[in-house]
Symmetry: C2
Subunit: 326 residues, 2 copies
């Protein structure tokens, strides 16, 4: 089968096709004929050689496709349309998916939409609810509202809580889209001081939960935006990793709960539990057309380099998809 590997750590030119045997199944696993795979920032970090979570040389952490083989200990039929998080190997014609992480794709969704769901919706679910403990009375600040996780988080917060949703993005297009998904207050971070807008719209109290993809460059401003006893969920470093000065007194006075998280390196057990709860509580909202997969652009398998380029340029609104098997 054809699959994409990294020749050596570096730029998009290092993404190369190579032939592999079809993967073999173990108990509890499904073999998926991959219809679509999605690009994640962690793929880029892996391509650059800055992380090594995956045991396979094949990139890709989520797919959609058809079950073509099911090992013992699974109860999903061959032919079922599924999506889910894989332990690497998603940029390939076939991949192994643990059955307890397979999510049935609603009939109303295409494979491309299916591939756009697992990573961002599971991450958004985990950060909003498991770590952020978002309640109906809360206000949440979702940075990068136009990103994959951002668009998923806005929808989940809107559909599953009565929380007030504040989001930031860098263009009017993105902000309009965020509003259409349910964001209450949309801030253009290029034109406005987001922390001032946050304080203005929360009676100077700040927000209960922040989803922070930005990191260092927003450190002080996020701290100002956070309410006492707030949960600050750190999931990215688009704005750098090094904070040059941090004052612990400020953390103590606000009784900050700073929770850093990544989904990919977590255990199989964790992903299974997260998937299970997500399927139960959030998947019905797709069936009822209350939530949607946000697909930015679909690339052919062969165009993987352009797909990576698009993400690196932060041009995407929602998920960048590659179509694998027809």
């Amino acid at each position: 089968m054809k699959a994409i590997v990294v020749n050596q750590p570096g730029g998009v030119e290092q993404l190369q096709f190579r032939d592999f045997p079809k993967p073999k199944l173990q108990v509890g696993e499904l073999l998926i004929k991959v219809k679509a795979s999605a690009i994640n920032r962690s793929d880029i970090i892996a391509r650059e050689g800055k992380s090594n979570y995956l045991k396979t040389p094949i990139l890709g952490i989520e797919v959609s496709g058809e079950v073509v083989e099911a090992a013992s200990g699974t109860n999903i039929e061959v032919g079922t349309r599924v999506m889910g998080l894989v332990n690497g190997g998603g940029y390939a014609e076939y991949v192994v998916l643990p059955a307890d992480r397979a999510i049935k794709i609603p009939d109303s969704l295409s494979f491309e939409e299916g591939a756009a769901i697992p990573e961002v919706f599971l991450t958004a679910y985990q950060t909003l609810f498991w770590l952020g403990e978002l309640t109906h009375q809360d206000t949440v600040l979702i940075h990068a509202g136009g990103s994959g996780v951002g668009t998923a988080a806005i929808q989940l917060a809107k559909q599953m809580t009565q929380a007030k949703i504040i989001t930031t993005a860098g263009s009017q297009d993105k902000l309009d889209f965020c509003r259409s998904l349910g964001a209450d207050i949309c801030i253009n971070y290029k034109e406005q001081s987001f922390e001032e807008e946050v304080l203005k719209s929360t009676n100077n109290q700040g927000v209960d939960v922040i989803l922070d993809f930005i990191g260092a460059s927003y450190w002080e401003r996020n701290l100002k935006s956070l309410k006492t006893d707030g949960r600050w969920i750190m999931i990215g470093i688009l704005g750098g990793a090094e904070v040059n000065k941090m004052n612990i007194i400020e953390l103590l006075q606000k009784r900050v709960q700073l929770k850093a998280t990544l989904l990919t390196p977590r255990s199989d057990e964790y992903k299974k539990e997260l998937t299970k709860e997500f399927v139960q509580k959030a998947m019905p909202l797709f069936n009822q057309n209350k939530m949607k997969a946000v697909v930015d652009q679909i690339f052919r398998f062969e165009d993987i380099q352009n797909a990576h380029k698009r993400m690196e340029a932060n041009k995407n609104l929602g998920k960048i998809i590659i179509r694998v098997n027809k």
Copy 2:
């Protein structure tokens, strides 16, 4: 009645006696004839003018004493021996104590021992269990093992869980005492590199929970000592507040949960709930002589300045107490 106020922000010489009328009660409150009050680091910070949580000019956040008057909405009899957290005013002959925060003093304990319990045991309980989510399988690192909160935390962790307890202190006396309270591994931070010892004794995994009273000067070393998915509970800044360089990638890779907390500025409701759970789950251990109040030294009311000096010199092993009414 006689009470201690701060003349103007500054050193111990600013602690002065002044006459006040006895406080008046509102619904749900008890008037306590104060037998003993305890010194807390937050009293020193308040004396220096660096915090202003309290609405009364009288210092002191915990007392033991006798109920001499009970307003409506209380169900504790006059004459009962109680201890508890007050909203300031504890360095005085009489003080108001909300009835839902009054803890009956076991017969086996003196008033001086009673005054040594509320703040440190409630703080230790809150940080170990509510924020630290300590389990039987966990390992906990308790810094400043000889301090008031340190000695309370070692006992609570030992008596209420099967967690492995690692502690640090700066003298052999303190370490021996920590061991007698139940600490499994006792590290002299002046002679050993605590993070190396922690890694050595946890198979290089690090600990699940850190109680951090130290702050900036231990930042990197605490981060090294923490296990993936660990909870790092920040409750003090004995080692300074300013961290000069912090790398968010390290937080992400370990999926650190950094939770900063203070007890005194929290709401009446929070203190009520914390007290209630503590009374139910931990107080029986005092009755069974499995836990003890750790009294360092008892000063006369008039000797308040020396009591503050002793804490500022970090000489105490356990709580510094002032005896108020006989």
